[in-house]
Amino acid sequence: MKSYFARRLLQLIPVLIGMSIVVFSIIHAIPGDPATVILGDHATPEAVVDLKAEMGLDKPIVTQYLSYVKGIVTGDLGTSLRTKKPIMDEAIPYLAATIELMLISMIIAIVVGVNAGILAAWRRASWFDYGAMLIALVGVSVPVFWLGLMEQWVFAEKLGWLPSTGRINAREPVETITGLLLLDTTIQGNWIGFWDALKHLILPGLALGTIPMAIIARITRSSMLEVLNVDYVRTARAKGLSELKILYKHSLKNAFAPVLTIIGMLVGLLLGGAVLTETIFGWPGIGRYIYDAIGSRDYPVIQSGILIVSTIFVFVNLIVDLLYARLDPRIKYR
């Protein structure tokens, strides 16, 4: 297991180098002169020269790449062209907001998706099965931004139950410690703040979590169907175990491996979906940070934002792979 862990970490190196090359290339792949594109057609030649010097675009490309990598390794992601602030400092609060949103979405997706999948498999070909799978089909087909807008229309505009934008009521700000507001308010014992933060999380969390929820439900169902017919489940039934125990203890444990793999992949979907969800719900996360940067052609922010998000994705998948080995002892790693 230890050697597998080491090998898996080593395998990451070429992927991370490749990612850094791709992200580095973004600015150089722009057709025409990047500095002119960033500043617009009406820029003076002096401004273009200045920007080139500021971004290091006047140096040889290998030197540029090496200094870029050196920056990443030392935690320097460059400065935003728009705000002139270090991207690293700017990105951290945004990242915390995205992580909080993703965690909530993932919890909703896993809790609802796994249980719906189990029940659908248990009561195969029942109305519940058909209903759940129909909802799951709609769930994988719905555009996340449209779902978000519809939620805003129904739950915020029509019913007025939940706030439609933002992370917290602006009039009652919460002192940030970790940046995860639910955690911060709990630490401070600020229950009003906690409730407020939770209310702000529900709509975007549900919008972002719907597609993963539907995918998880479908995978869990098909994986459970395979397991529910095997001998040890029959034995468990024969010796009179409760259905609950059979489903959740004996079957789910053996059916969970494919679900776990999918959960790892879904993190990518969540990180991508965050750009859309955060735009709609005015959520100050990394997705919106990237989106705003595109609008103002702030390429260093686009580059770093994509790099941060992809690095998270790669490491989450690493963790999933390692969990996989823990969860299913039948999988042997050499």
Partner: protein, 296 residues
């Protein structure tokens, strides 16, 4: 003794009682109810797109100040938007855009993915290492973010969105075909093809590709659904369709601010995206069950 050859029996005529494989597949497909419903939905939207100029007399674009934000009614089935444009008209013309992007981006990904996957799987060694690492790196990026990056480089337009979506989906097909090639190339008929001195190109495209294509067709059908969603997402972010173009995602982005006063401007384009995607997903699922039971 004379060396004569006498025909003692006529060469055996090999008659296959089996119908061609694709006919078998089609027969199985017809039994899949979900696939047929999906196909019907897809055909419905294709027809809407083709017949769009016949089905409506309203202009797709332009500004009509007297007709802004009219609720759905007999004159305007789906109502009008803030520019006074008929939403029904824009949706049926939008079907053309979404289907066009869906089909062609998937075809692009399949062509590029198949070429890379065939080379990687067939030649192995360093070709496989390079191509597989390339796929790994691409898959390390969340797909919509990679598409955003590509559009940020190329500049926002419908065509560039199509290119971006095609590029980000290449590894999906590449990996699929690579794994198929790895098993197909060990088959005896490939060995015999090599033994009689057939060229690599012919082996790859006449023997290996046709025998590996089924999962690609299934994945491609499901891929159209994903591509339509991705195109709508890029359109919504302003990175795909440009002002005036009746792309569904772009329509939603433009109508966003009228959520409270004119919800119909958001309702119908969203339904259009969802129904088309459901159609392709149902058809793809059914196709998979009919053609490739192992993939279930």
């Amino acid at each position: 003794m004379q060396n004569t050859s006498k025909v003692i029996a006529r060469p055996v005529e090999i008659k296959s009682s089996k119908k061609p494989l694709w006919l078998e597949g089609l027969k199985k497909l017809k039994k899949q109810r979900t696939a047929m419903v999906g196909l019907a939905v897809v055909l419905f939207f294709i027809l809407l797109g083709i017949l769009a100029p016949v089905l409506t007399t309203q202009p797709v674009d332009g500004f009509n100040p007297e007709k802004t934000l009219i609720p759905p009614g007999s004159d305007h089935w789906f109502g009008t938007d803030d520019q006074g444009r008929d939403i029904f008209t824009r949706i049926i013309f939008g079907a053309r855009i979404s289907l066009w992007i869906g089909f062609f981006s998937v075809i692009g990904s399949i062509i590029a993915g198949c070429l890379l996957g065939l080379v990687a799987g067939f030649y192995g060694k360093w070709a496989d290492t390079i191509i597989s690492r390339f796929f790994d790196i691409m898959l390390a990026f969340p797909s919509i973010l990679l598409a955003i990056a590509i559009v940020a480089i190329l500049g926002p337009s419908l065509f560039n969105a199509l290119i971006a979506i095609a590029i980000v989906n290449i590894p999906t097909y590449g990996r699929l075909i690579r794994s198929r090639v790895l098993s197909v190339k060990e088959e005896e008929y490939i060995m015999s093809a090599r033994a009689i001195g057939m060229s690599d190109g012919r082996i790859l495209f006449r023997h290996i590709l046709p025998n590996s294509i089924t999962p690609i067709i299934v994945q491609g059908t499901l891929g159209i659904a994903t591509a339509i969603l991705e195109a709508a997402s890029l359109g919504f972010l302003g990175l795909g369709a440009q002002p005036g173009e009746p792309e569904w995602g772009k329509m939603l982005a433009d109508a966003r601010q009228f959520l409270t006063v004119a919800p119909w401007t958001l309702l119908f384009p969203g339904f259009a995206i969802m129904l088309t995607v459901i159609g392709f997903n149902m058809f793809g699922d059914g196709l998979r069950d009919a053609l490739d039971p192992k993939m279930k």
